[in-house]
């Protein structure tokens, strides 16, 4: 290959442009992934709607009618998904005609639900992305979310401080708890070589079982009730809603700005902080980091602890902002959804942010789709579309090939985490 400097300058400029087009290509991949997901979902809608299947049976006598009725059904379903998750056109029109508090609340309702669902996922996704970018695979999201949630609950039960201090203390407890659990995996990795995947994965089981036990102890259980749910978080310990003056049904709470600030903080951490840069170095090339005088054991522990801290925070945001009490399956699939979100966002802070919001859209939109379509198209369809999109984003080569995009396969790596997750 020719040495860079010996290329004529105009070719250099072209190369430069090609390198910059890389970003645009990733955007195209996302766009096409979404398209593939929606088309795939469309076929499923036809297959699962009996009326449409009957109509396809008569395709040759009424081809036009078959196609248009299928298209209308699919379009209507996706319209409900979109309006249920982002903005409802009908209420938007009402708001423009008559700007009132109630109409404004109706316009904001879908987005509020989406962002509320996305909030803990943003923070959890960021926590995992920190690990993945440093080549550490924290699979213990579920357990660390539980720890964060339980400690926040414990603070809420044990103290009765003014709201601001109560919430701050909850955050501190959750962050420290998550950091300790994941940090322990980091210590084990750094000093004994125990693989963090195994350790964190086992810690999930441990935390689920500990949670199950705690919920029947007198500290957490409601006296006399045995439904497995814990005492509730007092109002002083809840994250305040910030649109409730418009309508008490708007559940968006202060967790969202916290998540937003976390995105900025992680962005800063990797771009500007010394520790963040060291983690990147250790993650990308531990040998070179050692030659440069970086103590990689310390980096491993710091990285795992930070990752766990954010997952603990995610648990706190979930329990104080959404659930307000703990149940035996509090951790749910959060730890694993967060892995997918990190993957979807390619471990970039803003990517994770929008990836989590995409999950929120599919969740609230899917529910709306099921509720408002005449044939009650199942909620799980939205999850299928989501899965197809994630699959496509994870394999850009496939999308590039399918749509004959400019040869960018070499520019876009298969994923951002070194081929592991």
């Amino acid at each position: 290959m020719t040495d860079t400097a010996t290329r004529p300058p105009q070719i250099g400029r072209i190369m430069h442009f090609a390198l910059r087009a890389r970003q645009a290509n990733m955007f195209l991949v996302l766009l096409f992934s979404l398209f593939i997901g929606l088309v795939f979902g469309g076929f499923l809608i036809i297959l699962t709607t009996p009326a449409l299947m009957t109509s396809w049976g008569h395709f040759f006598s009424h081809p036009g009618g078959t196609i248009s009725s299928s298209f209308n059904t699919i379009w209507f379903a996706y319209e409900q998904l979109f309006q249920g998750a982002l903005v409802n056109f009908h209420s938007l029109r009402l708001l423009i005609d008559n700007p009132s508090k109630i109409n404004l609340a109706n316009v904001l309702a879908p987005l509020s639900g989406t962002l509320t669902y996305a909030t803990p996922l943003i923070v959890a996704g960021l926590g995992l992305a920190i690990g993945f970018r440093s080549s550490l695979f924290n699979i213990g999201g579920q357990g660390q979310v539980i720890v964060g949630g339980v400690l926040a609950l414990l603070v809420s039960i044990s103290f009765n401080l003014p709201p601001f201090f109560q919430v701050t203390l909850e955050i501190i407890a959750a962050v420290i708890g998550g950091a300790l659990v994941a940090g322990l995996a980091g210590v084990l990795k750094a000093y004994t070589g125990a693989h963090e995947v195994i350790v964190t994965m086992m810690s999930n089981y441990t935390m689920v079982l500990i949670l199950g036990y705690l919920l029947i102890t007198s500290v957490f259980a409601r006296p006399g009730v045995h439904d497995g749910a814990s005492k509730a978080i007092e109002v002083s310990g809840q994250l305040p809603y910030f649109l409730s003056h418009l309508n008490s049904a708007l559940l968006l709470n202060f967790g969202f700005p916290i998540a937003f600030v976390t995105v900025l903080a992680v962005q800063w951490f990797f771009n500007r902080s010394k520790t963040g840069f060291q983690l990147l170095m250790v993650g990308q090339n531990p040998d070179a980091a050692r030659v440069a005088g970086i103590f990689s054991r310390r980096s491993i522990i710091i990285c795992m602890a930070l990752s766990g801290a954010l997952l603990g925070l995610a648990g706190m945001l979930k329990i104080t902002g959404v659930d307000h009490l703990a149940t035996p399956n509090f951790g749910g699939s959060y730890g694993f959804d967060a892995i997918t979100v990190a993957l979807l966002g390619r471990n970039k802070p803003w990517g994770v942010f929008f990836g989590a919001i995409f999950f929120g859209v599919m969740y609230t939109g899917g529910a709306a789709m099921q509720a408002f379509t005449p044939t009650n198209i199942q909620f799980s369809l939205s999850q299928v579309i989501q899965a197809v999109v994630v699959f496509c984003v994870a394999t850009p080569a496939l999308v590039i090939e399918a749509f004959r995009l400019r040869d960018g396969a070499s520019l876009i790596s298969t994923n951002g985490s070194g081929g592991w997750v």
Binding site: T2, D3, L280
Partner: protein, 505 residues
């Protein structure tokens, strides 16, 4: 077999790696392909071996056009290749490696080792190789491993052998033995395409020399028509200074004092066995020796990467024994590691970031918002200009640079710190003539500025050219410290383990 490449052109995007290349290799000919890194030699050979398809042009075997889609086609047409990095499976034995992919079976699926070994021995005897078919490859010296690679190619009835930088990994003695093998292959009618950038070897063995530059053939010549200087000029496109210009050293105070140093490798075997030496400010101590005689462990101990099991490393009267790498760096030790890609650089990060890799604590790269990206970028641009690092900008990932430019990044970074001593391990391995000249000038310049320098190299030419004193390492011990005027033969003997008194006797 006659092999011909006609009008081969290969483009990667907007870059032309090979442009209208014509090459004829006659039967029984040793054809040297010479060129700097990035001149297009490897691309050309990868096309010939079916790993790349040319955009234009044809390949002719015995004057017939053939299509080579993959290495299997190449092998079927009698073309064999020995890669620079061996494609052997270390835990298999020699016979296993040779038959891998074309195992004789009788009855299926049992491998017929008897036949395989018999054939292997016949082949080895024919070309004068001495080889034990049952030896495990990882236990064999590099030179022998290379023979296994060659045998493997020959076992597929190759009549043209492509050897990609075969001598880069060999000791002087092994290289001599290798030349004998080449000649015997030639006598039996095999054609050889020998890729290298060592001019001395080319002149010694080649029948025809083809020189490539920037993807084009810039000259075809023979050893009798040219000399080292002529070849170097052709390769680089300008006059190259093959001899390192340097004044005699003016050694100052002792900077580094190593006393009775013992170092163990990761298996716990002692690989540095009680070494003592001093290095003074303003002098270059070259450590010569065949690879694997303790150089790696010695350098690791001197840079804090490995804790010695005994002895002392004293820098400016401060004992650094057991300190962290950070302390070693802060004490003023510069380290250009042996494997730059693995130990010297983070390939995915930009040139600028790599230029501050070990200077994260330096306040000049910080402001109150964290890392001072502007200062880091500026530093990158400055060093890029100063060290002539060839790239579009300092924000390009280091992985996109050629080997020579990557090495310049490592060197630039180390020299931009306050140094007391610079330790370079294999500073010019795999670099082309132009980059070697540049590196050598830098090393001499830093010496002249009063810094102590240690060069560890298995390249005899380099050791002799740079060293003010030469320490020869064999089996973890210093055989002798000799002046650079010592003859190559004596150095070779010292490297092979003969004590200096035997040499002088």
């Amino acid at each position: 077999m006659k092999l011909e490449l006609r009008g081969i052109t290969k483009r990667f995007g907007s870059m032309t790696a090979n442009s209208n290349v014509n090459l004829v290799v006659k039967p029984g000919e040793i054809h040297c392909l010479l060129g700097e890194n990035g001149a297009g030699k490897s691309t050309l050979m990868n096309i010939l071996y079916g790993m790349l398809t040319p955009d234009e042009g044809q390949i002719l075997v015995n004057d017939e056009i053939v299509t080579i889609r993959d290495p299997k086609d190449a092998v079927a047409h009698g073309i064999g290749m020995v890669h620079q990095h061996f494609m052997l499976i270390p835990v298999f034995d020699v016979a296993d490696n040779v038959i891998l992919g074309s195992e004789p079976v009788k009855p299926w699926p049992v491998i017929d080792y008897k036949t395989a070994i018999a054939e292997l021995l016949v082949l080895a005897e024919k070309y004068g190789f001495e080889i034990d078919p049952r030896a495990t490859v990882e236990n064999l010296p590099i030179g022998t491993q290379q023979r296994v690679e060659i045998l493997k190619a020959l076992s597929h009835d190759a009549s043209v052998l492509i050897l990609d930088e075969p001598t880069a990994v060999l000791t002087p003695q092994e290289t001599d033995a290798f030349m004998v093998i080449l000649r015997s292959l030639k006598e039996s009618g095999k054609s050889i395409i020998f890729i290298t950038h060592k001019l001395r070897e080319v002149l010694e063995i080649a029948d025809v020399i083809t020189v490539m530059r920037l993807g084009e053939i810039v000259g075809v010549t023979t050893p009798s028509e040219t000399d080292e200087r002529g070849l170097a000029t052709m390769m680089v496109g300008r006059e190259v200074n093959l001899v390192v210009d340097k004044n005699p050293a003016t050694p100052g105070d002792v900077v580094l004092d190593v006393k009775d140093l013992f170092v163990e490798d990761e298996r716990g075997l002692t690989s540095v066995k009680g070494i003592s030496f001093e290095v003074r400010a303003g002098e270059i101590l070259a450590v010569a020796g065949v690879q694997g005689n303790g150089q790696t462990e010695l350098v690791e101990a001197l840079t804090g990467m490995r804790r010695p099991s005994g002895g002392e490393v004293i820098l400016n009267n401060v004992n650094l024994h057991g300190e962290s790498v950070r302390k070693f760096l802060d004490a003023g030790i510069g380290h250009v590691p042996e494997d730059r890609q693995r130990f010297g650089l983070v390939l995915s990060l930009s040139i600028s970031d790599n230029l501050v890799l070990d200077q994260l604590d330096d306040p000049k790269f910080h402001n109150r918002f964290g890392r001072n990206l502007k200062a880091i970028k500026l530093n990158g641009e400055q060093l890029r200009k100063e060290f002539d690092i060839r790239s579009q900008s300092a924000e390009e990932p280091v992985g996109a640079l050629s080997g020579g430019n990557q090495q310049k990044v490592v060197m630039a970074r180390e020299l931009s710190r306050e140094l007391k001593i610079l330790i370079c391990s294999q500073p010019t391995r795999g670099l082309d003539v132009g980059s070697i000249e540049f590196m050598h000038r830098q090393i001499v310049a830093i010496r002249d500025s009063g810094v102590a320098v240690i060069i560890v190299s298995s390249e005899l030419d380099e050791v002799v050219a740079l060293g003010d004193r030469i320490a020869v390492l064999f089996d973890g011990e210093i055989q002798d410290i000799v002046p650079p005027s010592t003859s190559r033969e004596d150095l070779g003997l010292l490297m092979a383990g003969a004590y200096s008194r035997e040499v002088s006797a």
